[in-house]
């Protein structure tokens, strides 16, 4: 057991054996009430729409309609694929940035600010910025042409090059949303007491070993948090995709949106929403299991 994990074991208060401690419930109550009134109630209404016809009968036909929809298979595949590509890239990049900041080099607050700037940009805004970059008469072609690398503008956003469309979406998302992961990791790094690093230095640990045996284990809660939040958001992504790739690259959240807003098929839209929720829930549970800290394991005992 590493030093870090041993330390965490001691942080729990002793288990009380008398009557149920009401304090945690009281602390949680406002959150629960709030969410129930403003979200759970309308959500249940929408939830029910996915398997209840207007006449009141319970039916699976909306889910069937969703599965048979032309765009469904593509949306499922794209949502997973994009998430699987984007998130690892972002986590690595965010980690690099967070570690750089943690070295407290001169000017690091400015670096933190710069890297946090994309937080202030919505997914639609980022999509518009980067599409002005990738479009045929856009900035990327402008630069390439000015540098003399090409004679004619290249059409990046072409339906004949789906891989390039993916690339454009990935580039935009990595640029925009890495800050989300980064901010959480930076906060998490602040909590690691410096003594650990100093102790490791005293024992002559190299940078890589420090990272692997001290930093990363202690960063587990923050990593878990960041991954969960990022993945949930990734499955909700669609504005960026629509701007870059129209419906050539369908995604689940986009299909939910089109079913609702364009086709006004509320029931099928709800079916999509239920699917998104189920997938996000499954992956979250997976993350919680994968990155559980010792504290949580003890909590189960």
């Amino acid at each position: 057991m590493t030093v870090a994990e041993q330390r965490l074991e001691q942080t729990l208060p002793p288990v009380r054996r008398q009557a149920v401690d009401w304090l945690p419930y009281v602390l949680l109550l406002p959150t629960v009430v709030f969410l129930t009134v403003f979200f759970v109630y309308p959500m249940l209404q929408a939830f029910v729409l996915s398997f209840r016809s207007p006449e009141g009968a319970i039916t699976l036909r909306y889910f069937q309609a969703m599965l048979k929809d032309t765009y469904f298979a593509g949306a499922l595949r794209n949502s997973f694929l994009l998430t699987a590509i984007i998130i690892p890239l972002q986590v690595v990049l965010a980690l690099v940035i967070a570690l750089l900041i943690n070295t407290r080099f001169q000017g690091h607050p400015w670096f933190l600010f710069i890297c946090a700037i994309p937080l202030g940009i919505s997914d639609l805004g980022a999509g518009l910025i980067w599409s002005s970059f990738f479009t045929e008469r856009g900035y990327l072609n402008l630069i390439l042409q000015n540098l003399g690398l090409i004679n004619e503008p290249i059409t990046f956003l072409s339906f004949e090059r789906p891989a390039w469309l993916y690339g454009a979406i990935v580039a935009t998302e990595v640029w925009r949303a890495t800050a989300i992961v980064m901010v959480i990791l930076v906060a998490g790094l602040q909590l690691i007491p410096k003594d650990y690093f100093e102790t490791a230095d005293v024992f002559g640990a190299s940078g890589w070993r420090k990272l692997r045996y001290v930093t990363l284990p202690l960063l587990r809660p923050a990593l878990q948090t960041a991954l969960i939040i990022r993945t949930i958001l990734a499955f909700q992504l669609f504005a960026t995709v629509i701007v870059m790739a129209g419906r050539i690259v369908p995604v689940l959240a986009g299909e939910a949106y089109f079913q609702y807003g364009l086709l006004r098929n509320v029931n099928v839209a709800s079916a999509y929403a239920v699917l998104i929720m189920t997938l996000s829930m499954t992956i979250t549970i997976f993350y919680l299991w994968l990155l559980r800290t010792k504290e949580e394991e003890l909590g189960r005992g």
Partner: protein, 271 residues
């Protein structure tokens, strides 16, 4: 402690990453001050000449823009206060206590975030009309709080997990009540996490466009007013850039202000 080699690597990385983040921002900043004719020219220079503040001025003077800017700030402020006030205690509870239903709470709170909110537009609007919250900033703030709460709870949980309980214990043995120990000991250490939650909440509220659009008619927030009219509606290209840039600026200011709370050294903020 860093060798010259490592220092060089660090510098290179910092410069590269900074450039990569800043480049698109600088582009749209420049483009917001470019005239429409120049934006359509090909090939065109990246730097506008002449500089034209015409489009930006349009945005500042357009009807209701400044009012909706204020509305957005008010809504975001309310959302931050509500989300942190309500969410932090929950985060504390989830980090410190073992109790029945804990996992259910955790997953349940996160679960609300997994449902695309756009579908809830009509049920929410109907409820809000009935509760007299329709077309009010408070109503929008309540919805934004709902959207931000799960993240606030999750972030504060992971932060409080990292704050050793012994410190609060020590304070309590020295005569503090539990609440005092929390306020005087745990909270300052947890400040970076609370700052992270606050930034998150602000950004989420600031950029939120769907709920804000459906729930407001006369008292609109900035995204409800501008984003729809600029982003998806096909406004001329100079308006797209200027509108987009105009929306970013306040967010940049807020992030700038809060950023120093993300970095602490055992309660001492680093300047």
């Amino acid at each position: 402690m860093t060798t010259p080699g490592r220092k060089a690597l660090l510098t290179v990385l910092v410069v590269l990453i900074s450039a990569w983040v800043l480049f698109p921002i600088i582009l749209i900043a420049l483009a917001s001050f470019t005239t429409r004719t120049q934006l359509y020219a090909w090939p065109r220079s990246l730097v506008p000449s002449p500089f034209s503040a015409e489009t930006m001025r349009f945005f500042v003077q357009a009807q209701d823009v400044l009012q909706s800017l204020l509305n957005s700030l008010l809504v975001a402020a309310m959302t931050i206060v509500l989300a942190v006030l309500i969410g932090a205690p929950a985060g504390y509870a989830l980090s410190r206590f073992r109790f029945g239903g804990k996992e259910v709470f955790r997953l349940g709170i996160l679960g609300t975030k997994m449902f695309p909110a756009t579908i809830l537009a009509v049920p929410l609007a109907v409820s809000f009309i009935n509760w007299n919250l329709y077309d009010t900033l408070l109503g929008v703030a309540l919805v934004h709080t709902t959207l931000a709460l799960p993240f606030a709870v999750v972030i504060t949980t992971s932060v409080f997990v990292g704050v050793p309980f012994e410190l609060e214990e020590a304070a309590m043995t020295l005569g503090c009540s539990r609440a005092q120990a929390f306020r005087k000991v745990a909270m300052p250490i947890a400040l970076p996490g609370l700052a992270a939650a606050a930034i998150f909440t602000f950004v989420l509220s600031w950029n939120e466009v769907f709920a804000a659009t459906i729930l407001t008619l006369r008292n609109r927030t900035l995204p409800a007013l501008v984003m729809n009219a600029v982003g998806l509606a096909g406004a001329p290209i100079d308006y797209r850039f200027a509108g987009g840039f105009f929306m970013i600026i306040p967010a940049l200011i807020i992030i700038f202000v809060i950023r120093r709370y993300l970095l602490t050294l055992w309660g001492v903020t680093v300047r």
